[in-house]
C-alpha cells in the first residue's frame, strides 16, 4: 500500500468563510481522494421554522446566509405565494428583482476578490472588494441595511424605492459597469491567470448532471440552467437578459461566467428601474389574511445557483414542514470530481471555484503525515503554496 498524506482543509480555515472540514488524501503532490465533514454550523433552521409564523420565517431564513441573504426569503415568498395563490403587484416584482440582482453583483465581486487572493493577486482582491462597497451603500440607501435587508414579506415588499433615489442608483450602476470592465479586462487578458486556471478543476457536463450541480458551477460546464429563465418569477419575465454559459467547466470558465453575469445584472436592474418609473409609488404589497392548507414549491436563482424551498401548510399560521435546499449543498459535493487528480496547489482554487457557502449547507488547511501524524503544512503555507505556483508561472511567462 502506498503512503498517503492527509491534508485537512478545515474546520476553520482562511481559504473559506465558514467552518467545514475537507480531508485531502495526497500521494506526493497529487490529491488522490477527498472526504468532508459538515455540520459545524447546523442550526436546525428547518425545525425552527415550524415554530415561527410566516411573517417571522422571513427573518429566520434571511439569516441562513449572510452573503446571499435575500435569495432565501425570495424562494420562501415564492413558495408561500404559490400556496395562497397570490399574484403580487408589478412594482413589488421590480423591487424584488432589483434587490436580487444587486445581491448577485456584490456576491460575484466578493468571489472574484477571494479567488484573486488565493492565486496571489492581492490587488484584484483589494479592487474587487473596494468596488463592492458602493453596492452595499446602495443596499443601505434602499433597505436601511448593508446586509440582511428585511425587504420581503408575503404579498410584496416592505419598503418602496422612491423616485428621488432612482438617479443615484443609475449613477452607481454606471460606475459598477466601468469597474466591471476593468476587472474583466484584468482577469481575461492576464496570461498568468490563464495558465493558472485553465484546465484546472474541470467539471464535465456529465458530472454536473450526476451531482445535480446548479448556478454558475453548472453554467460554466455548458448546462444552461437558470431558474430566472426556466421557471420565471418576480420581474424576470418582464425584462430582457440572457443566460451566460461557458463550455470548458474549469476554474477560468467559472470566473468568466460570474464576471459576465454582472453585466446582465446591471442591465436587469436598469430595466427594472424603468419599470418602477411606470408604476405608482406605494403600490408595493397586497394584504394577505391567511395561508390556506397546501403544498408550495418556491425557487429562486441565488448568486450560487438555485435555492429551493418546499413548504407544507396545514392552514395554521406557521409552516407544518419547511425544507430548504441551498445551492452549495449540491455544488460542494462536486469537489469529489474537480479536485481528484489535481496538485495540492490547484486544489485550493478548485475548492474555491464553486463559491462554497457552508452556512447555507450547513474550513482551513493543515497537512498531517498519515504515517507519523506529524504536521507537515498549515493553512497559510497551503495558500502560500498556491501563490508560489502563480509566481513561478509568472516568471516563466513574463
Amino acid at each position: 500500500m502506498s503512503k498517503k498524506t492527509i491534508i485537512p482543509v478545515g474546520p476553520y480555515h482562511p481559504l473559506q468563510e465558514e467552518p467545514e472540514l475537507f480531508k485531502l488524501y495526497c500521494d506526493g503532490e497529487i490529491v488522490k481522494d477527498i472526504k468532508w465533514e459538515t455540520g459545524y454550523n447546523h442550526r436546525s433552521i428547518e425545525k425552527l421554522s415550524e415554530s415561527k409564523t410566516y411573517e417571522q420565517v422571513f427573518f429566520l431564513v434571511e439569516r441562513i446566509c449572510g452573503i446571499c441573504s435575500t435569495s432565501h426569503p425570495f424562494a420562501f415568498a415564492n413558495a408561500v405565494e404559490e400556496i395562497a395563490n397570490i399574484e403580487i403587484t408589478d412594482r413589488a416584482k421590480y423591487i424584488r428583482s432589483i434587490i436580487g440582482e444587486l445581491e448577485r453583483i456584490h456576491s460575484h465581486l466578493l468571489w472574484v476578490g477571494l479567488a484573486g487572493h488565493f492565486l496571489g493577486y492581492n490587488t484584484v482582491f483589494m479592487w474587487a472588494w473596494k468596488y463592492r462597497e458602493p453596492v452595499l451603500d446602495l443596499f443601505e440607501m434602499i433597505t436601511g441595511n448593508r446586509n440582511s435587508y428585511a425587504m420581503f414579506k408575503v404579498g410584496g415588499v416592505r419598503r418602496d424605492i422612491e423616485k428621488s433615489k432612482i438617479s443615484t442608483i443609475r449613477k452607481i450602476l454606471d460606475d459598477i459597469r466601468k469597474k466591471a470592465d476593468l476587472l474583466t479586462g484584468a482577469v481575461m487578458d492576464d496570461p498568468v491567470i490563464h495558465a493558472r486556471t485553465k484546465g484546472v478543476g474541470i467539471l464535465t457536463r456529465n458530472d454536473v448532471i450526476d451531482y445535480g450541480a446548479v448556478g454558475p458551477t453548472a453554467r460554466a460546464s455548458g448546462v444552461a440552467i437558470d431558474v430566472r429563465k426556466d421557471d420565471p418569477y418576480a420581474a424576470y419575465p418582464l425584462v430582457n437578459w440572457k443566460v451566460i454559459t461557458a463550455e470548458k467547466g474549469d476554474v477560468f470558465a467559472k470566473a468568466e461566467v460570474r464576471l459576465l453575469e454582472m453585466y446582465e445584472s446591471v442591465s436587469i436592474i436598469e430595466q427594472c428601474l424603468d419599470g418602477l418609473e411606470k408604476t405608482n409609488e406605494g403600490d408595493i404589497a397586497i394584504k394577505i389574511k391567511e395561508i390556506p392548507e397546501g403544498i408550495g414549491t418556491g425557487r429562486a436563482e441565488a448568486p450560487r445557483g438555485e435555492v429551493f424551498h418546499f413548504v407544507v401548510s396545514d392552514g395554521s399560521n406557521s409552516p407544518a414542514r419547511h425544507k430548504i435546499r441551498a445551492p452549495s449543498y449540491v455544488n460542494i459535493a462536486t469537489f469529489k470530481k474537480s479536485c481528484i487528480g489535481q496538485t495540492i496547489a490547484d486544489a485550493t482554487i478548485s475548492l474555491a471555484a464553486v463559491d462554497p457557502c457552508y452556512c447555507c449547507t450547513e474550513r482551513l488547511a493543515v497537512a498531517y503525515d498519515a504515517r507519523t501524524c506529524r504536521k507537515v503544512m498549515n493553512a497559510n503555507e497551503l495558500i502560500e503554496h498556491s501563490r508560489m505556483k502563480t509566481a513561478e508561472l509568472r516568471n516563466k511567462l513574463l
Binding site: E37, T38, G39, H42, S44, E46, K47, E82, I209, D210, Y211, G212, I225, D230, D231, P232, I295, T297, R299, E306, F308, F310, V312, R321, K323, R325, Y329, V330, A333, K336, E362
Partner: protein
C-alpha cells in the same frame, strides 16, 4: 416536453405503481407511487426523460413517514414531486444514490434526522451530527397524540 405528455407517459409505463396524480398547475405536479417502485420511476424520470434531481424532503405525519422526491424539467420549469408514504414502524426505501450522486447527502441527512433507512446506500453515515448526537434519537420526528 409538455407536462401532460410526461403525465401520460408515466401513466402508460407505471400503471400499477402509480396511486394518485395531482396536477396543481402546468409547472407543479405531485405523483404518489408505491414505495417499492421508486427505483423504476426515478430511473425513468432521470435516465429516459432527462429530469434533474433537485432534492428530497421528508415529512413525519400521522400517515407515517412521507418523502417528496423533487425532480425538475428545466426546459419547461416543471417541478415533479414523486411522493411516497412509508411504514410508521420501520420506515425504509431503496436508495437512489447508486443511480445519481445528487441524492447521496440528502439520504444520509434524512436517515439522521428522521431515522428513515435507505437500503443499499453506498455510505449511510451521519452527515451533520457525527459524534455529537445520541444514537437512535431522531430530532425531526414528531410526537402525535
Amino acid at each position: 416536453m409538455d407536462t401532460m405528455v410526461i403525465i401520460e407517459k408515466l401513466n402508460e409505463n407505471f400503471k400499477s405503481e402509480i396511486l394518485e396524480v395531482n396536477k396543481k398547475s402546468d409547472k407543479r405536479v405531485i405523483v404518489t407511487i408505491k414505495p417499492e417502485s421508486i427505483i423504476k420511476v426515478a430511473g425513468y424520470l432521470y435516465k429516459t426523460l432527462g429530469l434533474r434531481f433537485i432534492i428530497a424532503s421528508a415529512l413525519h405525519t400521522r400517515k407515517g413517514f412521507e418523502i417528496h422526491y423533487h425532480f425538475s424539467m428545466d426546459s419547461t420549469g416543471l417541478v415533479l414531486n414523486v411522493h411516497v408514504v412509508l411504514n410508521k414502524e420501520n420506515p425504509q426505501i431503496e436508495s437512489l444514490s447508486n443511480m445519481f450522486n445528487a441524492s447521496n447527502w440528502i439520504e444520509r441527512e434524512m436517515h439522521e434526522l428522521f431515522g428513515i433507512n435507505f437500503l443499499n446506500h453506498p455510505n449511510q453515515e451521519k452527515l451533520i451530527s457525527d459524534g455529537n448526537w445520541a444514537e437512535g434519537v431522531y430530532p425531526y420526528r414528531k410526537d402525535f397524540k
